[in-house]
Amino acid sequence: MISNQKSNRASGALAAVLGAVLVLAGCAGGETAGDDINDPLEVPNRLIFSVNDALDNLVMKPVAHVYKESLPDPVQTSVRSFLNYLRTPVIFANDLMQGEWGRAIETLQRFAQNSMVVGLWDLAAENGQHFHNEDFGQTLGVWGVGEMFYLVLPIFGPSNPRDGVGLLVDHFLDPLDLYLTNTHRTGLQLGRMALDGVDTRARFLKPLDEIEKTSLDYYATIRSLYRQKRADEISNGKPGGVKMVPGLTLDDDQPTTQTSENEE
């Protein structure tokens, strides 16, 4: 939890708008990973999910396949490295807003090292400083804003109001993105987004196929994975995320919709 002062200072003019949005949506603290599906919009969510999935099968997956098969591995590594490099200001700003000084310094050091090769090669990772990602959705999570409810966004996929707001705020934390907006270079802006999307999709070709094949309810499994992943990202992998364990959790007879509230 963080004081109102700090959040105001950090997000400046956006704070008022954001605050209103978050208060309206009811900001329950903490991340819930458990039985609470917290998905009041499940019907429209499933609909958007299936549209996204159809688009994925029609466009993203084939493109990602071509990208993966035709580009040599070192080039793909370079693309990822460069995209991560461009994201540095967003990561750094969020590191700071989360009070993660050590990680903020690491972000700067990585930037300094990788600047020597214009970000086309991740030198820093080879020296043991691996890339870490941050976004404003995570920052809000660190500040104690809950996910509110599960939300599937068109194109962007699994999300929630908090992380959706985060996406928007990250745009304003990204000098390159702002510059491209202000100079009406929409093509470059979309190009970067598309490349990021294709590269990410290419990395998940196999895992996602596996999950789709082995899960009974693909939608529910993705919802579970997204929620757990975000909880882990917000805590930066610190232990204590998963509290429910086979053999210890004796809640066979608890109603599923109330479990996580009871645990808080």
């Binding site: 990973a33 458990g34 039985d35 599906i37 590594t77 000084w101 050590g102 310094i105 690491e106 700067l108 050091q109 300094a112 990772a125 691996h130 890339f131 596996e210 082995t214 899960s215 009974l216 309810d217 939608y219 529910a220 499994t221 919802r223 579970s224 994975l225 757990q228 992943k229 909880a231 882990d232 990202e233 805590s235 992998g237 232990p239 995320g241 998963v242 429910m244 364990v245 086979p246 053999g247 210890l248 959790t249 809640d251 066979d252 007879d253 608890q254 109603p255 599923t256």
Partner: protein
């Protein structure tokens, strides 16, 4: 210049502190050491017996099932995955569910060992979460990629060890399974039978 040096100094101090703490604190209890050794042996055995390229998929599945039932508490995981619906299930449904669950786990994971490509595991410290529960932390290295965090949750009981969950980068396999099953049951009218139908269908080709 000064600022950069200062930052570097702070950063390296932080890094040393981070890396030194766990290894120095390694005067661990027998329960922690035992769990750690158990996971180490399990990983070694999995690599030695399951990742061989020239065995049939049936043989791989057979070996995986043997390792699974020995090193994992499959009934506890299955029961957890069914959540509150375990209570509602009849004896007959429970028996069928346990059988289908094991088959499904074998079908889901066994073939993945055939795609092994030189990953290595490094065991980190073990943490006591509960008088009976130890989490053994590890890193899995894949050539050319950042290491993946893998937590092994081990139930210990008077010298015996059983894995009850594997948590990869914060994602619990058991919890994911439970969420998946709950969704199926809720969407098929809230009864266990709906899940059994789906599981029968899913495992048909493997039985």
């Amino acid at each position: 210049m000064f600022a950069r040096r200062f930052l570097l100094a702070v950063a390296s101090a932080l890094m040393v502190a981070n890396s030194a703490l766990p290894s120095r604190a390694s005067a661990q209890s027998p329960m922690q050491d035992g769990s750690r050794t158990f996971v180490e042996k399990l990983a070694d055995r999995a690599v030695a017996t399951l990742t061989i390229k020239d065995i049939t998929e049936q043989e791989r599945a057979r070996r995986f099932r043997a390792l699974l039932t020995e090193a994992f508490d499959v009934p506890a995981i299955a029961r957890f995955a069914l959540g509150r619906y375990w209570r509602e299930a009849t004896e007959q449904q429970r028996a069928e569910y346990l059988r289908l669950f094991e088959t499904m786990i074998v079908a889901t994971y066994a073939s993945r060992f055939g795609e092994y490509s030189g990953e290595t595991i490094r065991l980190l410290d073990a943490r006591i979460d509960d008088p009976k529960l130890v989490t053994v932390m590890s890193e899995v290295f894949k050539p050319g990629q950042a290491p993946a965090r893998v937590d092994w949750r081990v139930m210990t009981d008077s010298g015996s060890y059983r894995v009850v969950d594997v948590v990869v980068e914060g994602i619990s396999m058991s919890l994911t399974q439970r969420n998946d099953f709950a969704a199926v049951i809720q969407r098929t009218g809230g009864a266990v039978e709906g899940l059994l139908v789906a599981l029968r269908d899913k495992t048909k080709q493997f039985e």
